[in-house]
Structure formats: C-alpha cells, structure tokens
C-alpha cells in the first residue's frame, strides 16, 4: 500500500511538473526544457536514438526518439534538423506518451449482431476485400470510396492512389487535406501552375517583416513562431498580425490589425490599390514575369448536393486591373472591413517599400474560406506586383496543417482529381501513371468524382456503399457533422476505419483495423517547405496493429490485384518510394534518393545534382529555370505568373437578427486536430481538458454570461453546449464567438456550415451565423 501511495504521489508530482512546462509552452512558443527531456533516462541507459519527423503539424520538426529494450522512452528535438534546430513544442515533446494508451486499437474488430468482436487481422482483411469486391460487382466501381489523410505517409498515400485509381479504376479517393490545404493548392496552381511554396523556412532569417494572415502561429506553428520571435529580438524584424481574433500571436506581435470576417479579400485588393497608386509596382518584374486574368464571379458556395463549377479564365491588361481596383480604395474598404484607412495604408507601405523584405504566412484562416482560392491569389498579387517573391526573405508562404499534407496529399496526390504527377483530366499524366503502375491506360478514369464534402454527401444519399477511412476522424472534423454522422450510420454504406485509437468515426464502423503509429513503421513525410523526411521503424506495434500501406496491399492482393503490388513486407517502404520517385524525375520536382534521406534530417525538393532547391523560380537558386531571365515561373506554359482580378464577395451566411454572431472555429496549442492522440497524453489533456466558447467581454456582459457558464451555441444545422471563456486564451471581436474543434464530447462541427470554395472545394470553418443561450 505504501508503495502505491508513493507512486501516486510521484505521479502527481510529475503531472504537476508537466503542467508547468505546458503552461510555459503556451506563454513562450518554442520553449525547451532540455534537462527534462533527458530526465526519465536511467543513468546507465544505453539508448538508441533514432531520427524522424514529428507526428503532428506541417512544420516538420526533426525529432530524436530514444528507445530501450524495444520501447520508446524519450523524445528530444533533433539539433541537426534545420527546421527546428533542436526545439520542440509541447505536443512534439510528449508525443510518444499516447502510444501506450490503454484503449489503443491492437486487434481488428468486426461488428457482428451490433457488437464488436475481436477478430484475427487476416480474417478482417478478408471481410474488407470481399465486401469491397462484392460492392463493385453489384453497384459498380464508383460505389466504393477511400478517404485518407495528410497524416498518412508517402508510401501509404501512393499505394492508396495506385489501388483506387490504377487497380480498381475509380477516382473515389480524397483526403482530409481537402479540409485544410486545397485552397492553397488551387491558389498555387492558378497563379503559378505549380503547387507548394517557392521559398523555405530560411526566409525567416532574412525577412524584415512577417505579415501573418489569419494565422495564429504562436499556437499552431509554435516552433516557427519562436524562430520569428528570435529574429524580432536579434535583428529587429517586425511581426504584423492580421486576423479576426486577438490571440497569443497578436499579443506577441509588433502590431495587431483586426478585420471583419471575409473582408480580407477587400483589404488585399486595397493593398494592391495603394501599391499601384503610390508607384510601388516593380514594373520591370511585372512586365517580364506576369500576366493579368479574371475569372467567373458569383460562383455560389457549393451548398447544394452535386454542385459543380469550372472557372473560365479570361486575359485582361494592367489598365483593366487598375480600373477594377478603384472599388477598393482604403477609404471604401475601411467602411466594411473595420480596418482603419491608416492600417490599410500601413500594410501597403510595408509591402511597397523596396528596401524591406516581407514574408506573408497563412494557414487555415485563408484556406478555409468560401473564396479560399481567391484570397490565396490576392496575396500572391501583392508579392507579384512588388516583385517580392522567390528570394531569401521575400515571398508568400502557405503553411500546412498536417505532417504530410504536402508530401502525401499534394505530391502523391490523394485527391479525386490528382495523380502522383499531374491530374486525371490530363491524358499525358494518365499515360505516365498507367506506364509506371503497369495498368491499361483506359483503366484510369479521366473525370474527378467526389471531393471530401461531396463524398460524405454521397454516403448520406446512398450513392457510396463502401467507404474506407485511414488516419482521419471525419465525424469530428467534417463541417456539418449533424448531417454526415447519421449518413455514415446508415445501413446502405459499409464502413471500414483504420486507426490507432477508437474515435467517433470508428464508432460507426463495420470493421475497425488496428493501425501502427508512425514510429512503429518506416515511412516518409513531406512538410510545408517541400522537405521530405524519412524514418526507420523504431519500435514494434502492439498486438496485430499494422502499417496502413501493408493493409492496403493485403486487401488489393485478396481482390486479385497482387501483380500490381509485388512489394515485400520487410522492404515495402523502400520499394514503393523508389517506384514513386519515377513520377517526379527531372529538375522541377526531383526527389532525393532514399539513401540520402536516410542520412539527412530531410531534403528539400527539387533535389538536383545532390542539392536542395531552396527558392524555386529564381535562376540564382533553381536549376529548372531555363528562360535566361532572373525569374522563370515555369509551371505556366509561357513562364509567367498570373495576377488575378478577384473581387470581394460576401460569406454565404452572415449574422442576422435570429443568429446574431459569427462562429469561428480552430485549434489550440495543446491538441492536435480532433484530439484522438493528444487527448490521450495526460499532461496535454489536463492542460486543456475540454473545449469552450470564447466571447468578447461586452457580448458576454450583455447576455449575462460569466466564465464557465454553460452556453448553447446553435445554428440552423445543430447545436453544441460548452463552457464560456472570457478574456482567457483568445479574444474574439465583438459579435463573434470562437470554439476549438478538438473535443469529441463537444462537437462544434454539428453547428458549422458545409459551404466551400467552388474552385478548391475546401469548406469554410471560420464563418457561419449562430445564436447563443445561457443554459
């Protein structure tokens, strides 16, 4: 008894210490307690430190995992990684604690007579293959679908794409990166014809100004934010936070500018108006390297099932663009954006100053937007007009949310419209895929089918009769889960869920497959700066938990596609990566050989002649530039980037008399997305045990709401009850409430709207109308 009490006390002391460190991490992004990292290591321990990337966000910090006797016992930042230089955030440091969770999925579970029955994995995979095959036989290949993740490894995404598009012959493959990065992709493709940022994190060491667009980096990308703060302290670099809510990023910045939701479109145009008016345009750059275009306006919002849209770009000239901008003078925009004329001019002057280097950062604020592609285009316009792009310290930089949203979702292409190189609508791209996959060219369909939102609508309608999800939790993360949860519960669809832990999504599954966690398998991730990182398996997975890639291969073989998946269990990661690399051969996207990735803490593509390309499209750094000029935007056939004429348009749903508040949703530093991992890490769970609804103090006062009061937040779609939070973590503007979405017990996505950007098909989680009631 004495022993157990002592242990309990020692446990509480450890929890108390971790709480203090978590609190410190929230206050000082990037803070490191190095001695604590080593503290749990026995003095006589002979740990084997293995390198890899962090399991969480898209920053892609390098970690070192210490293993002893087959167990992961410690994590520390990798000092060799140029991304984080030994730093880790609070999530990164504690990441391995979740894998020992008591409710870990260690065996397959098959639902029989309404109850989950532990089933040998081989038998469960037989059931999955049989069901998938019989569904195709009865209803056609477009009756089956797969929904994967920006947390899947590159080989996992590649095998999923080959299985669905090359073997079965359906484009019913999409992923959760649609919910976070699709607008960035569409923005890059429409402006530059090539996806992913042209710069890299080293921009932080050169920029004079960092302008963050709706991006709470202090909580979402804390290690990068700490690098910015370091530059602020040492070189006097300035951080300007442009957002709809005051956050920890705002308070750590030199200036915080708040705007009315959706009006970032107008403010971006106003900045361009000022740049032209004040003759700050880099004329020679624009004349040599840019075209001007406009597209269709009043596109709608995708609120109805089977909504389709295709833009029709039309060339315009500089004078027409200048004329268009007359509607966006600072004086006009200030009236509805609630940004002062002075602040708009201040922002424009930063970008317009030829002697200052500026990096713009954004993530979900701009991407989860019903005009997400447009706002991405508009920020590129600012950088193109001033020529501040593709140079150290100058450039637009969209940050990713997930660890391999770039590497897997975007580069491998686990979207309905994508292939590992190019898109399904392009015959040349289909022919290349067919050649490498060794399948008949005709088998790869030329038309995209369902993007994420439409895929779950199709499940609800009964059009999709089999769906397999991996490493994702859509019944917490989709918008309007009030529709999609009952849809997934219908008997018309057979649901297979592969995951590491049980989630609300696995709760509706017919078969649950136990997945290995990232250090329990070998793999590769690709981060926000085009850095590909490899790691070797570090520990064994428990029970029958297995790599997702291997489960796909096993099912494909059972369905008769074995000849397309000739990989070995021991070396499949290497074999798959070597096959995948063939898609990107050449100076524009060459990937590093595996032997290089095994040695280095990540390598940036294009990897040409043994060297990473840090700044694309700039002939000083990028060997793919071939036009003889300083810059070459070779993603476009004529080598020129596009400055887009994109107007301000209202959000589909705005506050009114019945629903008087904007609802904004997002994340917190302690939790990773839907919390399925971080809520199983005791110190993180204790630091942030549940969600909450943030109010502006004046709104709270007028409703008689105090901190901790239970409040019902309702929209036309659903409601959610949460405790009120006033003047705590963040401060929304008056007339707005904010709710984090990590808490499966307080499902705020029952309330959100499934409107999306018509071009990127990415939903807007940042704006819908709600009412609040004290309960």
């Amino acid at each position: 008894m004495y022993r157990s009490v002592t242990n309990r006390r020692s446990f509480i002391k450890k929890m108390a210490m971790l709480s203090a460190m978590t609190a410190a991490a929230s206050m000082f992004p990037g803070i490191v307690f190095a001695s604590e990292q080593e503290k749990n290591i026995p003095e006589d321990a002979n740990l084997d430190w293995k390198k890899g990337p962090c399991r969480f966000c898209g920053v892609g910090c390098g970690i070192l995992v210490g293993t002893e006797n087959g167990k992961a016992v410690a994590v520390k930042g990798d000092p060799q990684s140029s991304v984080n230089k030994g730093l880790l955030c609070v999530k990164g440091y504690h990441q391995i604690m979740c894998i020992q969770s008591k409710d870990r999925l260690t065996h397959a579970l098959v639902k029989r007579n309404g109850r989950y029955v532990k089933t040998p994995l081989s038998e469960a995979l037989d059931i999955v293959a049989d069901k998938m095959k019989s569904t195709i036989d009865t209803h056609g290949k477009d009756a089956v679908a797969m929904y994967t993740s920006g947390q899947s490894t590159i080989p996992e995404g590649y095998v999923a794409s080959k299985f669905m598009k090359g073997a079965i012959g359906t484009n019913n493959l999409d992923c959760n990166a649609r919910l976070c990065m699709a607008s960035a992709v569409a923005g890059f493709l429409t402006t530059f014809g090539a996806d992913e940022p042209m710069g890299c994190y080293e921009d932080i060491d050169h920029a004079d100004y960092f302008v963050t667009w709706g991006n709470n980096m202090a909580e979402m990308h804390p290690v990068l934010f700490s690098r910015m703060l370091e530059q602020k302290g040492t070189r006097g670099a300035k951080i300007i936070d442009f957002a709809t809510r005051t956050t920890r990023s705002s308070t750590a910045s030199d200036k915080s500018i708040l705007f009315e939701p959706q009006t970032d479109l107008a403010v971006a145009n106003a900045i361009c108006y000022e740049i032209i008016k004040n003759n700050w345009v880099n004329t020679s750059f624009v004349e040599k390297h840019c075209n001007f275009s406009k597209g269709i306006t009043n596109m709608g919002y995708g609120l109805e099932d089977n909504y389709t849209f295709a833009d029709k770009p039309e060339p315009i000239d500089f004078e027409a663009y200048k004329e268009f901008l007359k509607d966006y003078s600072p004086e006009k925009v200030s009236k509805y954006s609630k940004v002062s004329v002075k602040d708009i001019k201040y922002l424009a002057a930063i970008y317009g100053d030829p002697n200052k280097k500026v990096v713009s950062y954004w993530c979900m604020g701009m991407n989860q937007h019903t005009r997400g592609t447009w706002i991405n285009n508009l920020v590129y316009n600012i950088h193109l007009l001033t020529g501040k792009i593709s140079q150290p310290g100058n450039g637009p930089f969209s940050l990713t949310g997930q660890p391999s949203a770039c590497g897997t979702a975007r580069e491998v292409g686990t979207f309905t419209h994508k292939l590992p190189k190019g898109v399904v609508t392009n015959e040349k791209n289909r022919r290349l895929a067919a050649k490498i996959w060794k399948v008949p060219y005709e088998r790869i369909p030329s038309k995209p089918t369902y993007h994420a939102t439409e895929m779950f609508r199709a499940v609800d309608r009964g059009d999709i009769k089999f769906i397999w999800t991996q490493a994702t939790n859509p019944l917490v993360s989709l918008p309007k889960t009030s529709r999609y949860r009952p849809g997934m519960q219908k008997d018309s669809c057979f649901v297979v869920v592969s995951d590491v832990f049980p989630t609300p999504t696995s709760d509706v599954a017919d078969v649950i497959l136990p997945a290995a966690w990232h250090i329990e398998k070998s793999g590769l991730y690709g981060n926000s700066e085009r850095r590909t990182q490899h790691w070797d398996k570090m520990v064994e997975a428990p029970g029958e938990a297995t790599e997702d890639a291997w489960m796909f291969i096993e099912v494909a073989r059972r369905m008769g596609y074995g000849d397309l998946f000739p990989y070995s269990k021991e070396n499949h990661v290497e074999e798959i990566y070597n096959e995948y690399r063939q898609f990107h051969e050449g100076p524009k996207h060459g990937m590093a050989p595996l032997e290089v990735l095994k040695k280095e803490s990540g390598v940036i593509w294009p990897y040409v002649k043994g060297k990473s390309t840090q700044w694309r499209f700039n002939s000083t750094y990028d060997p793919a530039c071939s036009n003889g000029e300083d810059f070459h935007f070779y993603g476009k056939p004529d080598g020129k980037a596009v400055i887009w004429q994109r107007p301000f348009e209202e959000a589909p749903e705005k506050p009114d008399q019945e629903y008087p508040f904007w609802l904004n949703t997002g994340r917190v530093v302690e939790h990773w997305h839907t919390g399925s991992m971080t809520r199983r890490i005791p110190v993180l769970h204790q630091a942030m045990p549940h969600a909450y609804v943030e109010f502006h103090p004046e709104d709270a006062k007028s409703y008689g709401i105090r901190n901790g009061d239970q409040v019902k937040v309702s929209s036309k779609r659903g409601s959610c009850v949460l405790p009120a939070s006033i003047n705590e973590r963040g401060l929304p503007t008056k007339g707005q409430v904010f709710v984090p979405f990590f808490d499966e017990n307080m499902l705020i996505n029952d309330v959100t709207l499934d409107a999306f950007c018509p071009i990127s098909k990415e939903p807007d989680y940042k704006k819908c109308a709600v009412k609040v009631e004290k309960v």
Partner: protein, 78 residues
C-alpha cells in the same frame, strides 16, 4: 499534502542563481528552460502551513522576478 507547480520567472540573466536558490530548498523540484529565463517548479509540502511558509521563502529570493501558480494538487502522503 499540497503539491503545487509554478513558473518561476528569473530576473534577466539570473536564471542560474535562481535555480541554485530553489534547488537548495528540500521541498522544491526545479527544471530550467533552455532558452528562456523561466523555471518549472514543483513544491511538495506536508500541509497548508508548510506550503505557505515555503512560498514566502521562495518569494523572498532576490533573483526571482515573478512566481506564477500553474496547478495545485492535494495528495495523500502515506
């Protein structure tokens, strides 16, 4: 039997001094941050009175700029 955790903010440049002062107190466990003038501190005392006395002693340390409470637990000692 209180167990409490704090963030102890050191006067600029005096983190090491503060760490030594805290480590000299039997009821304190300290972990310094690598890259900030902050220490994570856990105190373990027998009762409320001892806890109060310890807090007074800590607050009297010259190299301490600010002591902020993070969490408090009350656990059985034996």
């Amino acid at each position: 039997m209180p167990i409490k955790s704090y963030l102890a903010h050191a006067i600029t440049g005096k983190k090491t001094e503060l760490m030594h002062a805290l480590k000299s107190m039997e009821q304190c466990e300290v972990v310094p941050a690598e890259n900030q003038d902050v220490l994570a501190l856990v105190t373990d005392t027998a009762n409320e009175q001892e806890d109060e006395l310890l807090k007074e002693k800590i607050e009297a340390i010259e190299s301490l700029k600010l002591l902020s409470l993070v969490s408090g637990f009350n656990a059985p000692q034996k």
